[in-house]
Symmetry: C2
Subunit: 323 residues, 2 copies
């Protein structure tokens, strides 16, 4: 029996690192995950990750051939294979991730930010098949973005294109602090964390009751706010409305930069459906220049949610010509 | 003697339309200009323009072969050869410019926004030779932008990429009205008109004397404010400082979208030199994410100012493969 060609996809997030083996059709053959923060040294992290990947690989029945490792991570530089000054990760400064990975393997290692990986994944496996110009916005702990321009991932001169999570939505010294050291960045409003912050602000300003008032900031997560909103909790609904509007407002700016055919929302917050899509769509349309009005689709990512980040990272290996 | 290959470049601005013949090396062989606003009907405008171009062509000594017509115009759609809902032009709605042009000639006609033309011009004739990722910002009556991504002009799905003049710098219902119908757009602050508006605001808020207080809004232009600032006029200097800062602040956002190697400023306001570049550079750097700091060059366009717009439009004909 011939060996099955597989790619290993790895998604390094602020909270969890997940990985998996996928074939060219996007079938996940094996997967695993662990807490990112338990490894303070990047060398220890990579050694443990590599070991876990190999263990997961051995569970696959039949012979496989690994074609390479695709890695999605915050603030990743695809040209150098580095993670540089990622505010949400335990490792500071410039981290030579690909080089450290190559201490364990001589196979190709492609490192790019998680949103770029999601964009390539959407193009290869998801809803952007056949599209030449689109944007993927990842809504996780933070907010990432990946741009495909004329059929190729836009990388920029230093490999850092697509950091719109750190564009100014509400500039000014009194505004929300961002992990990047600046103030008023988009992701301080539009992300799982941003949603929590907005909810707390609304709780502070309002006297209305809410089932969420009994939870601390640390206890709260986007899923709880989503569930509360579905159950009719006024404050939770208002937090989503505000988050969606901020997103929609900013998407009009994104369109004015790159004029995409579609914008895909990806990640936990995107699962809130109409709660986030309706206000986002309304405010985007309201703020678009007339030449763009009614033309830009705002869509949910079509990558299967459970494995989306891993598939995105795998797709980097299958589409080297588009990077 | 063989015929000299030439392109005709046309720049349609809100105030003036200028045109010229150039060879492949960027030498201008003949040129002309007239007021855009004197033709209320687009068919009359094109007929008069075509006649003037032919008359200018006859003045060139030696035989020439025209290879095509490159046209820079606001809100132009390169895919369709149209101008669509340009707020600063006399013709409303969707104007099929290339089609009307083809009533006079069967040669190629390429229509794109003036900033895209400037970007291609910068790549072919100017300071962006050899660069693969850069942005050109045109500072005229309004503010335009052209993006080159991976060596090609970024057009977007509908041919309308690069309208950052209409991204929000100061959103909100009480903010400056823009010709596009929205409020708080970048070009209401950063453009020749924006500079005038800022000066008037500063005059209104301050009691300091200024030689510019004796001129009406209609009388004022960017050159007068520039001259006054050079002569030490405090209000004029302050107007430039504010304009430059607003620009720099927004450029940090532009970098977060596309991570260019350089940003070129083009057009009248760019000639103000340090008056605009210093505050723009300072505020851009201050607002850049750490991964971009110190890496993005803010440069003056290297197209010869007098013919820059015409050269940019001509370059569309010489670089069809990059569009």
């Amino acid at each position: 029996m011939p060996e099955l060609e597989t790619a290993v996809g790895i998604d390094i997030g602020g909270t969890n690192t997940i990985f998996g083996f996928a074939d060219r059709e996007g079938n996940i053959l094996s997967e695993g995950q662990f807490k990112t923060s338990q490894y303070g040294k990047i060398e220890d992290f990579v050694a443990a990750l590599y070991e876990k990947i190999m263990a997961a690989g051995h569970k696959i029945s039949g012979r496989i051939e690994i074609k390479g490792f695709g890695i999605g991570a915050p603030a990743a530089n695809i040209h150098k294979g580095t993670i540089e000054y990622a505010s949400g990760l335990p490792w500071k400064g410039i981290v030579p991730l690909a080089d450290i990975f190559h201490m364990h393997t001589s196979l190709p290692v492609i490192v790019t930010n998680d949103a770029n990986a999601a964009a390539v994944g959407e193009m290869i496996y998801g809803g952007a098949k056949g599209m030449k110009n689109f944007v993927v916005i990842t809504l996780g702990t933070g907010l990432g973005s990946g741009f495909v321009v004329d059929g190729k991932l836009m990388l920029g001169h230093d490999g850092f294109a697509g950091e719109i999570g750190h564009t100014a939505i509400r500039p000014g010294p009194s505004n929300r602090e961002c992990g990047c050291g600046r103030k008023g960045c988009l992701e301080t409003y539009v992300s799982a964390t941003g949603l929590k912050r907005t909810l707390l602000k609304i709780m502070a300003d309002s006297i209305e009751p809410s089932e969420l008032r009994k939870f601390s900031f640390d206890q709260l997560d986007a899923k709880m706010i989503h569930d509360a909103a579905k159950n009719g909790d006024t404050l939770a609904k208002r937090a989503f409305l505000h988050t969606g509007r901020m997103l929609g407002f900013k998407l009009a700016d994104v369109v004015a930069h790159t004029n995409p055919e579609a914008i895909f929302l990806f990640g936990g917050l995107a699962l809130a459906g109409d709660l986030i899509f309706e206000p986002a769509r309304e405010y985007m349309e309201e703020n678009l220049l007339s030449i763009y009005k009614g033309k830009v689709k705002l869509l949910e990512s079509q990558l299967s949610t459970q494995n989306a980040a891993v598939l995105g990272a795998c797709s980097l290996i299958w589409s080297k010509d588009k990077i």
